[in-house]
Amino acid sequence: MIGGKSMNRQWAWLSSLVLFLAGCATTGRESGASLEAASPITDPPARDGAPTLFIAMPSSPNFVEVRKSLVAEVQKNFNIHTFAVGPETTAAELSSAIQAVSPVCVVLMNNVTMNLYRQYQMASPSATMPPAVLLMASFIEEVQAKLRRATGIAYEVPGVTAFVQLRTVISARVNRVGVVYRPAFRQLVDRQKALAAKEHVELVPVSVPNDVTAEGLRTALHNLAKRKKVDAVWMLNDNALVRNAEFVNDAWRTEMNDARLPLIVGVPNLVDPNSPLGTLAVVPDHEALGLQAANLLFDLSDNNWQVEGHPVELPLSVKTVVDLKLVRANFGLRPDALKHIDRALE
């Protein structure tokens, strides 16, 4: 029996990591392009005279869902040309595809696609580039700075959104939220601190080195729980902090079990009543992200495609997964909370 459970966990972790690599996590790693689509992508029939929107993206389901929602919104105004980016795609192939359709704007999904586009821009330093809208990639603000004529929508769910969601689910107070971060995440954490303050939530950050050990992470979490007296902990989508099942057990599970604090996570796999860890997962709502991207495109179109100075937007919409068993046992379930949860597990 024990062996079976252990095997289950290994499988679950394998899938968890694959999910991270598929682009759900803020890892800085580039992937997602290698996954095959569940169904072929078909563009709506082109109409004479309509401007063309060029969408370059991997063909895995999350990207397909965003595209579907985006295309449904904009297809009356634009012709759509979709270019599937895979592991073999080169910058030259991407640039010739763009040049072939002369788009009024390009939409680029995931870091791999953006890297190819950057190579294209660097190879053509004097060419006029179409405006670019960046979606579903890590640290889009930093990517934007490296591209000409680009804006977009960040993929990381803002902490404040997650904290407000937690407040609507549990009765326990959520005034101080702790977060452990590595140096690469410092700017992100600083921005989250200011946003959280708007909702009267104090974000309490503790930094750890890049090569943090399980013991180091446990100490940081212990510090947040016992010394800094936080009301909840927010786990960043950083693969180095959730590198494998053993690491998570040794660091997160050990310390959070002891601390008995709500843990907010960014991937649904970490919310599982059979193996309690995350209390609440807050993940991007991909269909709504497509609508937000459509809004952005209409906005840019109305402004003659002036993307310069257009800041990267924050994602507006999320979905929630809650471990009800954990909530009921430790933090209290707010009346009416069930009406507002996307997936309640127990």
Binding site: W11, A22, N295, D299, L314, S317
Partner: protein
């Protein structure tokens, strides 16, 4: 595409998780739409309420046993359903019914009124004076052009930039992120907004701001009686969820 929960009944959990990880099964894919059983008249519902669509659907299905109820959370899905699903009746608010050329057979009422004021909410101080050039958030009830026209009418100006969001709860991030100067919402949704946030929300009523409450349009005259009778028998909690306390036959 299959729903994870459904799959997990048939597959060992590790395999199911692996499928999720590989993107072969996507846990957030909406459930396949319920289809009406037997000869039940089908009602399509499109309302933005203080509850997830799945919760509203379950509640209405339980309260309307003689009808097949399908609740849509997104405008595009609703439009597609209306075009391809051929419902027998539609439950929505007046502007949505009007945009699709439908006439209400049953009009919801609250406190004896069939309309409610819509409010313009903003942070720290109410948005007074001209709204020209302002960015205003609103739930996507009527699509890109329809929502713009609807808000132009409510706000009595054509010089606003509209940011549509997918759900009522997404209006709050617009204010938190200063992504909009204000958001428009039904007065019945204000309490929920205030409950969720610690921002200092200020409101003002809109000049053209009375909007019809939930209403039922019967599209298939052959089933009018059963549809009307079923909705008239709705219990109080369900009517409250719909934002009404009574129906009037039109």
């Amino acid at each position: 595409m299959a729903n994870l929960t459904t799959r997990r009944r048939h597959l060992p959990q590790p395999i199911a998780w692996l499928l999720v990880g590989l993107g072969l099964v996507y846990p957030y894919q909406p459930l396949p739409r319920a289809t009406a059983q037997g000869a039940k008249p089908v009602v399509h519902v499109f309302l933005h309420l203080d509850a997830k669509s799945s919760v509203v659907e379950k509640m209405l299905q339980q309260s309307l046993p003689d009808l097949g109820v399908i609740v849509f959370g997104r405008f595009r899905d609703f439009e597609e359903g209306l075009t391809n699903g051929h419902p027998d009746a539609v439950l929505s608010i007046a502007p949505v019914l009007q945009q699709h050329g439908k006439t209400a057979s049953l009009q919801g009422q609250r406190g004896g009124k069939s309309t409610e004021p819509y409010l313009l909410a903003s942070v720290n101080q109410p948005l007074q004076g001209s709204l020209a050039g302002k960015t205003i958030g609103f739930v996507d009830l009527l699509g890109h052009d329809g929502t713009q026209a609807f808000l132009n009418g409510l706000l009595k100006t054509t010089d606003i930039k509209v940011k549509r969001v997918a759900k009522v709860e997404d209006l709050l991030p617009l204010l938190e992120f200063s992504a909009a100067d204000g958001v428009v919402l039904p007065s019945s949704m204000l309490a929920r907004l205030l409950e969720r946030t610690r921002l200092a929300i200020k409101t003002r009523e809109l000049p053209g701001g009375q909007v019809g409450l939930s209403a039922v349009a019967v599209l298939n005259p052959a089933v009018r009686d059963v549809v009307v009778r079923s909705f008239q028998k709705l219990d109080t909690p369900t009517k409250r969820l719909l934002g009404i306390d009574a129906w009037s036959v039109q």
